[in-house]
Amino acid sequence: MTPIRRIISAARGPRKWVLVAAVAAGAAGCSLELTNPNAPTEETVVSDLDGVLAVAVGMQDQFAQTIDDYMVTNSLVTDEWGTRTASLIAYQSLLTGDNFDDSYLVVLTPWARSYSVIKSANTVLAGADQIGTGSALRAGTVALARLFKAMSYGMLIQQYEQVPIAVTTEGSLPQPRAIVLDTIFALLESARAEIASVSDADLAGFRTRVAGTGFDLRNTIDAMLARYYLIAGRYNDAITAANRVSPTILSVLAYPDPTVNPVQNLAFGLNYVAGLNSFVTQAEAGDLRPAYWLNTTTAGPAGNPVDTALRFLRKYSTRNESFPLYLPDEMKLIKAEAFARTSRPAEALVLINEVRTQTSSPLDEPVAGLPPIVLVTQAEMLAEIARQRRYELYEQGLRWEDTRRFGTALTTTPTLSFLPIPQQECDVNPANPCG
């Protein structure tokens, strides 16, 4: 008998169980394809209806949690906010324009967070087939993803001169703002088309499952179209879009617990910023709006630099306060500006005076309570529109872009024209975006 046979025969005998037990125990549970029980992976998420919807919810949260990043640059480089003693050097540098450094986190954050939103929107759009084809839930979710993607590109071009459109680790080159604006219009128009034939009643499921409380999809799409058509100089399109926006609806980002309004956290949690007192002192006598935006009754906090006179915020002074995605009067001012710039002064003046003379609103929006005004020249009109935009649309992240459109008509010059491309993007984007 050969030795091998001897072993085999030994194993075949009553002792067979030894080998069998050993091998069985060895092979048991040998699978090495383990999943992560702490977090779902992208594969799981995009191949599941509820996963795709959860990303759509997460996308809105990402956007909602980044509005303070847009605000920091927008409000500090213009004449909206000042820095408090606790603020970071980078914030003070945005305010004063001194010692600005490309490596500051304030340069990176609006960029990085916008692309996180866009990436989530892309994930939702890629996984949209998981949602029943032809359903209102699918139409609403797709339109929502396109809207948030468009809003993120829109926020990006208000901060950076050129931005990449493709979202990839392979590296994509920044595109001029005209091309980015075309992308925004394409997204918004297709978002609008997606839900054009869906009734509001059919969208009820979308509203309870995906969209945030107090958010209005149709009006927000139209408001964004109006906002960006104006920026692109497509005035007639801006007027058409603005006309579709209901003046009696507010569309907001809500912050119920455990979330916190990030602007409130910035101003009252971190104590980094407060409103500039010049916003109050430079207002037209009798304007009710400074007291809507800022606390004009108690003394403001100390500023850094020390000569910065500040006021505490009034709006966004509580944790769970919601943030409006646009204000109804922005539509009036968009139309007024479009009329003024297309030589239709009479129509412009009517709208300006509607904004000036509003004394009350059922919505949580500022009212001016000012007397009507008579304006003749286009320059006068644009200057008045710029001023109304300053007081009506305070800390909405629009002031920086206004300085580009109105130029000398404004009383302020931003300390920076745009943010530079963030250092990390320059360093590690394989497409070498910084040359």
Partner: protein, 1004 residues
């Protein structure tokens, strides 16, 4: 892996085995092993060469081996501390032959049997790499040691063994041949009786370093095991030796074997120790009768220079800690069954109130011979421990932290008028309140179980199956009473519970074959499966009501996390023995891990060893002279792997979020990397061992060269991708060094015997590659990873200096007085910008470590052992002193109060010099009198009155004396505990206590 595939693998492996020797009839060999004086030698290993048969001698020195095939055999005996002997015997079918041995003392023998790192047991002489062994007797000689890793201090060449904190049960960090990772762990892999055991040091609650800084606990889980159960420890220091452990062995392997019973009458050992622990040093505080700047700012002093009262509360913090350690073990058995039962209870009070550690443990090791072919073993170990910690280090609630941070003009004594301890004007808590009313216990319940089955179908073939389980539950309960730190603090309870279960499953087959007398072949194949499951549930409560000590209160939170790591490994190994002279070992290891994606999952790790020996054992030589009695040359190469940080890094993970009250998911900003693979180390090792004077002196020398590539680092991604970073295999670092050990039997007469062991080792680490050459990765305070520099050098602000290198001073005026103060070095960049510069200001890695141990046997009854343990050329960042000086609590602050206006350590302008760290980097070199022990064996007349066979009394000390220039409490401790990179930082860490021990032991 399917079982069918494994079966076919196994059968192929068995097919390659050469023809088996045939044996039909068997006999028995028995005998007695004694030393030169005729005293029995227990635990000597007897082997029938060319077979897997063997036995151990019992307490009476006798042995018996059954089932020996009839014919001529060479049998050999080996025992630590003695030269090996061999004899030729002829076994006859059914007969019993007697073969006795007499052993001679030797320094260290190359013939010591080792198990770790090879598929089947072998001797040191056969391996191309070094394996350090520490015997149970040596462990037992270490006084005041409460954990196995602590017992290795000063006993392993090339190991840097540090006690991270002096709190009882405080953690131990071991670096074998340097640090081999950056983001991964640096502690070796621990294996007990073939079962990989968990040695995690993850903090459940932050009690020393803060959570973001590596999240290291004050203790590591090796603390659970009783060193009294140890039979032998084997230490593998690098890839060349540890390749068998494949993808987990980059930091080396420490394998521990526990005691087994031996055939013979029951042997009972009882021992008890009493320990007194004291702090080796106290802080030197500012006791100036007049107020300084910080006394005005925080101590309520009216003005600089005003007379004030000062308080040194160290008497209320430090104490003499009392400890007891009691052990009882019974072992014995017969030819078929052997058993070892051990149990112990240890209680140790720390030197800082109210820290205390207690541990109860029991162990049972059973072995049963089922037949000539089958043997089964069963092991179980149950441990239950409670560790009452206090916060220290970075924790603002830390007791020593408070001493360091608070000016001595602050009186923390209980105030009967307010009914509470006064709030600390600077920091989180009043240290006396923390001692009195806070608690931070950690409880561990652990079960270690093992089962193995050995089958020897033929004398030359052995198959072994082993399964092991390491299961524990660890629970922390950190209670901060309401209103203890401020009038608005409403209390906090953190109650995290961790469950860990590690399962091992091993199957090994080996075959020994001696085709010719001068050629031995040993082939092995093996399979290993491990599953490592971990779950942590963290419950916490805040806004507590009075008297509430469990999670509750108005605000409650809970989180849960769960991980599982599985690995599968296969290995083959071939050992060739040419005339007991030239040995070759080659092996391949395939390891697969669930942490890696399918493309990189299976990794192959090769190894090769060569050993050439000339000594009495070698054949074909007449032997060397008695002057130069043995000579060995060795060389080895091996590769191993290291686990990446985070076992789910290969996935694109999503995280939970919430918007408008709806649950949502967002992509992690860390991109998954499906191509992640283990960090891979390769090591070359070479050296020689030379024995002199009939093996009474042995010199061992090794040189090694390690390079760890594919180090996992966090790489930034373009933010336009929606991601921020990704873990990638990018970096590499090297460790090179030498190790020298000199073992001598200086005197070996019956009346006086003296053995010495001197070791020296030096390691140089260097970061070879990061993402870009200009990268600097900064960890925690000062430790940095810089290309071209050792791992973890200190990078920090320096003094501005005059052109001739002297510290430059500037005027600074405060309180009407002008002081001359140093200021921080600044540099002008090419752009013209002026920046605060950082320089490399120190290196926490020792230039070399050395130990010197001496054991004396004076007459028959007295044994004295002394162990010196030293570390040289390492820097320590003394953050305790830095903070003390900034807050005016240091002795040196007395100078500025006395009117010294030229001052490097000025507390009146903390911000002006707060970023100058140069001042606080100190030489941390030390020599510690690690152990001194005097043992008296009681005269038989007294002993027999207790009915005992032997009894001894021991007087011992641990860390009784430290020689160092370091100005802080202890240069050995580390605030960041077991951190890989952040080392050599001493910040309000409990020093390692001085311990006095009296012990009594009985053997029945």
């Amino acid at each position: 892996m399917g079982s069918r595939r494994f079966l076919s693998f196994l059968s192929v492996a068995l097919l390659v085995f050469p023809a088996f020797a045939s044996a039909q009839e068997t006999g028995t060999i028995q005998g007695r092993v004694a030393d030169a004086t005729g005293a029995p030698v227990a635990s000597a290993q007897i082997r029938v060469e060319g077979t897997t048969l063997g036995a151990m001698t019992g307490a009476d020195g006798t042995y018996r081996i059954g089932g020996v095939p009839a014919g001529v055999h060479t049998i050999s005996t080996r025992r630590v501390g003695y030269a090996p002997e061999r004899a030729t015997v002829t076994a006859s079918a059914g007969g019993t032959i007697t073969q006795d041995f007499t052993l001679r003392a030797a320094a260290v023998t190359l013939n010591e049997v080792v198990v770790t790192g090879v598929a089947a047991p072998t001797t040191k002489r056969q391996l191309g790499n070094t394996i350090e062994t520490v015997s149970g007797e040596q462990v037992a000689r270490a006084p005041g040691v409460s954990s196995i890793d602590q017992a290795l201090q000063g006993r392993v060449t090339g190991a840097v063994v540090s006690e991270n904190s002096g709190q009882p049960g405080g953690g131990i960090s071991i670096r074998l041949r340097g640090t081999n990772s950056i983001l991964g762990g640096a502690e070796p892999l621990y294996v007990i009786d073939g079962v990989i055991v968990d040695n995690s040091s993850e903090a459940l609650v932050a009690l020393s370093g803060n959570a973001p800084r590596g999240n290291q606990a004050l203790s590591n889980r090796m603390a659970d095991f009783d060193p009294g159960d140890v039979e032998r420890i084997e230490v593998l220091k690098g890839a060349a030796a540890a390749a068998l452990y494949g993808a987990r062995a980059n930091n080396g392997v420490i394998q521990i074997f526990t005691k087994r019973g031996q055939a013979g009458r029951p042997s009972v050992a009882a021992a008890t120790d009493v320990t007194w622990s004291k702090t080796p040093k106290r802080y030197d505080l500012n006791m100036h009768p007049n107020a300084g700047f910080q006394d005005v700012a925080f101590g309520g002093a009216p003005a600089f220079g005003a007379p004030i009262q000062r308080f040194d509360i160290q008497d209320q913090i430090f104490r003499t800690g009392l400890g007891t350690n009691t052990r009882l073990s019974i072992s014995g058995g017969n030819e078929g069954t052997t058993y070892y039962l051990g149990g112990g209870y240890q209680k140790e009070e720390g030197i800082v109130r109210p820290t205390e550690y207690d541990r109860t443990n029991v162990r049972a090791n059973l072995s049963q011979r089922l037949s000539d072919q089958f043997e089964v073993g069963l092991r179980g170990n149950y441990i239950n421990s409670t560790n009452d910690f206090i916060p220290e280090g970075e924790q603002t609630q830390g007791v020593l932290t408070s001493v360091v941070f608070t000016p001595t003009s602050v009186n923390p004594a209980f105030n009967p008028n307010t009914g509470r301890y006064p709030y600390n004007p600077l920091l989180g808590a009043n240290p006396l309140d923390v001692i009195e009313n806070w608690s931070a216990p950690e409880k561990v319940t652990r079960i270690l179980g093992g089962f193995d089955l050995t089958w020897r179908p033929l004398t030359s073939v052995s198959l072994k199956y082993a399964a092991g389980l390491d299961d524990y539950r660890r629970e922390a309960n950190y209670f901060q009473p309401p209103f203890s730190t401020s009038a608005t603090f409403t209390g906090s309870i953190q109650n995290p519970v961790q469950f860990s279960r590690l399962f091992n499953n091993d199957l090994t087959a080996s075959h020994a074959w001696t085709p010719r007398q001068s050629l031995g072949l040993n082939s092995s194949v093996g399979f290993r499966f491990t599953s490592d499951k971990n779950e942590t549930v963290r419950a916490a409560g805040a806004n507590l009501g009075p008297g509430q000590t469990l999670v509750g209160g108005a605000t409650q939170t809970a989180t849960q996390s769960k991980t599982e790591l599985r690995t599968v490994g296969w290995y083959i190994e071939e050992r060739v023995n040419l005339a007991e002279r030239l040995y070759l070992t080659g092996g391949l290891n395939w390891d697969a891990s669930s942490a890696f994606g399918p493309d990189e999952r299976v990794q192959m790790f090769p190894r090769l060893g060569l050993s050439y020996v000339l000594d009495r054992e070698s054949r074909g030589t007449s032997g060397l002279g008695s002057m130069l009695s043995s000579f060995r040359l060795r060389a080895a190469y091996g590769e191993t792997g290291g686990q990446p940080p985070g076992i789910y890094s290969r996935f694109a993970n999503y995280e939970n979020t919430s918007f408008s009250g709806r649950p949502g998911l967002v992509s992690s900003i860390t991109a998954g990397n499906p191509n992640l693979k283990p960090e891979r180390q390769r090591e070359y090792e070479g050296g020689f061992d030379v024995g002199f004077f009939d093996e009474r002196a042995l010199v061992e020398f090794s040189y090694y060269d390690k390079r760890t590539n594919d180090l996992v680092l966090s790489i930034p991604l373009p933010p336009s991708s929606g991601f921020s970073q990704q873990f990638q295999n990018i970096g590499s670092l090297t460790n090179k060094g030498v190790e020298l050990a000199l073992n001598t039997v200086n005197l070996a007469s019956e009346r006086f015997a003296w053995r010495s062991r001197f070791t020296y080792s030096a390691n140089r680490s260097k970061v070879a590659k990061l993402v870009t050459a200009a990268d600097t990765l900064l960890f925690d305070y000062l430790n940095a990873i810089i290309v071209g520099q050792p791992v973890g050098v200190f990078l920090g602000g320096t003094y501005a200096r005059t052109p001739d290198g002297q510290i430059a001073y500037r005027d600074f005026t405060t309180g009407g007085q002008t002081y001359l103060l140093p200021y921080r070095q600044q540099d002008t960049l090419a752009s013209g910008a002026i920046v605060n510069s950082r320089r490399i200001i120190g290196d926490p890695n020792p230039k070399f470590v050395a130990t010197f141990g001496n054991d004396f046997d004076i007459g028959e009854r007295i044994q004295l052992s002394v162990l010196l343990d030293g570390r040289f050329g390492n820097d320590v960042a003394n953050f305790s002193r830095r903070i003390q000086e900034l807050f005016g609590a240091a002795k040196v602050n007395e100078r500025e109060i006395s009117g010294d206006t030229v001052n490097r350590t000025f507390s009146g302008n903390p911000t002006g010099r707060s970023l100058i760290y140069e001042e606080y980097i100190e030489d941390g070199s030390y020599v510690k009198l690690r152990e001194i022990a005097l043992q008296f064996t009681l005269p038989p007349g007294i002993v027999s009155r207790f009915g005992a066979d032997r009894a001894s009394l021991r007087l011992a000390g641990r860390n009784l004396k430290t020689w160092t220039d370091y100005s802080g409490l202890d240069p050995e401790t580390n605030t960041f505990s077991a951190s890989t990179v952040s080392r050599g930082v001493e910040f309000a860490t409990t020093p390692i206590p001085k311990q006095f021990i009296i012990g009594l032991s009985f053997n029945y």
